[in-house]
Homo-oligomer: 108 residues x 2
Amino acid sequence: MIKVTVMYPYTEGARFDHAYYRDRHMPMVKSRLGSACAYYTVEKGVAGRAPGSPPAFVAMGAFICESAEAYEAAIQQHRPEILADIANYTDIAPVLQLSEVVVERSDR
Amino acid sequence: MIKVTVMYPYTEGARFDHAYYRDRHMPMVKSRLGSACAYYTVEKGVAGRAPGSPPAFVAMGAFICESAEAYEAAIQQHRPEILADIANYTDIAPVLQLSEVVVERSDR
């Protein structure tokens, strides 16, 4: 199982519409990925190590998928639509990484 | 619900023992957090946006907790022990952030 994590670095004065990201963008990407993606997660950055300090990332989204191959095959033809939607909620360029899921959740 | 994400930036030549992190460090932290932490997740960085490029983070761990207050109260007295254990698996200084869980998992 793999995870594709999309991270939006905190940037002073940058724009990020958390409601659009949660209600429109992430469900759209999930629908394009179809069965290649089991589920996704969304979080909103609150603080860094020190309370009140800015978080490293203002938002993070992750897609938990069966395999990197399944993810790539599913997203390929939808990439232009997905990338074009980013401007609707932010002007931050996201950092993306592919990870291997080592512990999906420790209580299962 | 909040998430405390601990991210280890990819560093050329750095050391990271994924087995120790999975089998020793993360279960130890969870046991110290007790009921303040519902569960944790662990992932291993594979690649950045381009296949074969280094990931932003060589590993990430996250603790999903009831509240920031519960997490802080639980971890406070164990912080020296937890910080001292880091040298046992890596020489990378982790980046930590507190997030609000917006979508815990989209299929629930």
